[in-house]
Amino acid sequence: MPLIVDVVALRKAYAGGFEALKGVDLQIEEGEILALLGPNGAGKTTLISTVCGITTATSGSVKVGGHDTVKDFRAARSMIGLVPQEINLEPFEKVQNTVKFSRGLFGKSANPALIEKILRQLSLWDKRDSQIRELSGGMKRRVLIAKALSHEPRVLFLDEPTAGVDVELRRDMWEIVAELKRDGVTIILTTHYIEEAEAIADRIGVIAQGEILLVEEKSKLMARMGKKELEVQLSEPILEIPASLASDTLRLKGDGSALIYSYDTKSERTGITKLLADVAAAGLVLRDVVTRQSSLEDIFVDLVHEGDAP
């Protein structure tokens, strides 16, 4: 797949001296869905704003569809749609007018059929002549999505699209995302919700304190998550694993106080019964047994906290 967004050594320091992005490199392939996970203040919104032209980079470069976002801003920006995190809408304007406005602003000629399709898809058609201030919060977010889709972007940024949103809108939005993906649109979404990233993303990026800590295929992360560990705590520490127990899936805890067995929860035989029988046969006395699953959340928290270290 060709690259569609190419961020190279992007730095952003705000006027007060705060460095929101510390040399971000990020390559996004055409047609993929990338979820950017990160705590508050990690730099997710700054990254998106800089790609979209709302903030200017201190150094580094961004190319969208091969067009530099500064030198060739017209070509680059006309490919991008943005659904911002904050609900920024003209309160006295009618829904369909504000959506048409967005299309025009991006230089696209009027297309009432498309606007109708988008409004229907987002359950806004009945509200098309309502003023925006009359809408609920969730409806307003739908309007923001409609505005971004109105100019048929090839790259869509969704900044925390489901923050404070009801189940119905979340489902509608995931459907839209799936449809856009079928049409080959590249989608970058930021979120706090790991389940959301798991549900729709192809790749997952983790950002903290202005740095990308990891970008990986979701399936690989999921594979790591599918593993479960069984910790067999021993009443007496041992120096090495008895020969009768030796296998790739079993290791000794650092201080020799426990055996750690990793297994796949989804496989038919986990091998736990055999393990415990073998442990007993080897004459080891058990103190306790603990199981734990490493989740995407653990991976995420570990990564983010490594970033905290001085």
Partner: protein, 253 residues
């Protein structure tokens, strides 16, 4: 040029005007009528003629300028300040448009609204006094140029303003005094010599003088100088706006 974008901004901004069309028209018509009653009828009955024109007719160009300048500034400054205030400016900044297109859309709409109001005041004036327009084309030209140049200035104020108080500050403290002292209600030649010299530093004098010339064929300053002054002012505003968008001052972090 992204003409579709210019048109979209223009139409969107005009829609705001048409939503409040009644207030937009009633207030200037009412205040102009009051000016005619107070200045035209009450004071005018004691001042017979100024430069061969009845006082009631003499103040018509000045009154139109007063409204048009105030309206151009307030429309344009509000037009760009509002998106900044409510946050919708993100869309302008992320759209494939350059500064000229944004300015044409916003300033064009603000100038159009001011022009509407100028024409309505002119029509209202005909109800109160008798007068002829000697140079109608020049009159329209001056009116349009004034609308555009002061809408440009309003646009700058709207970007500069950090709150609603500041939005009102420049019009209130600078523009209104300049317009009142710019010969709206009197001829500069009626002032003592020192004030006549000081008046020449007031850019509004050139505008009102040129505009009045298009009505009555007489002016305080030469028509060429008037045109030069307004062209210079327009250029200055455009240069400032170009710099604003180039540096992102107060709009792009």
């Amino acid at each position: 040029m992204n003409w579709t974008a210019v048109k979209s901004i223009y139409v969107f901004e005009m829609a705001r005007f048409f939503r409040t069309i009644t207030q937009s028209f009633i207030s200037p018509v009412l205040s102009t009528s009051l000016y005619f009653v107070v200045f035209g009828a009450a004071i005018g009955s004691r001042i017979q003629e100024v430069e061969g024109v009845s006082y009631g007719a003499f103040i018509v160009p000045g009154l139109i300028m007063l409204s048009v300048i105030t309206q151009s500034i307030s429309n344009a400054s509000f037009g760009i300040y509002f998106p900044k205030f409510i946050g919708t400016i993100f869309e302008l900044l992320s759209a494939p448009v350059n500064f000229l297109e944004i300015v044409m859309g916003y300033v064009g709409a603000a100038a159009t609204k001011a022009l509407f109001i100028g024409v309505i005041i002119l029509a209202t004036a005909f109800l109160f006094v008798d007068f002829e327009i000697q140079h109608p084309f020049a009159m329209v030209g001056f009116l349009v140029l004034t609308c555009i140049s002061f809408a440009l200035m309003g646009f700058i104020i709207g970007i500069w303003a950090g709150n609603f108080e500041q939005l009102q500050l420049v019009p209130l403290l600078i523009i209104t005094p300049l317009v009142f002292l710019g010969g709206s209600f009197y001829s500069i030649s009626m002032l003592p010599p020192v004030w006549q010299i000081i008046s020449h530093f007031n850019p509004v004098v050139y505008l009102i003088s040129g505009f009045r010339w298009s009505f009555f064929g007489s002016a305080d300053v030469s028509i060429g100088l008037s045109l030069f002054a307004i062209a210079g002012f327009t250029t200055l505003c455009m240069a400032v706006i170009w710099w604003i968008f180039k540096t992102g001052w107060r709009i792009r972090q």
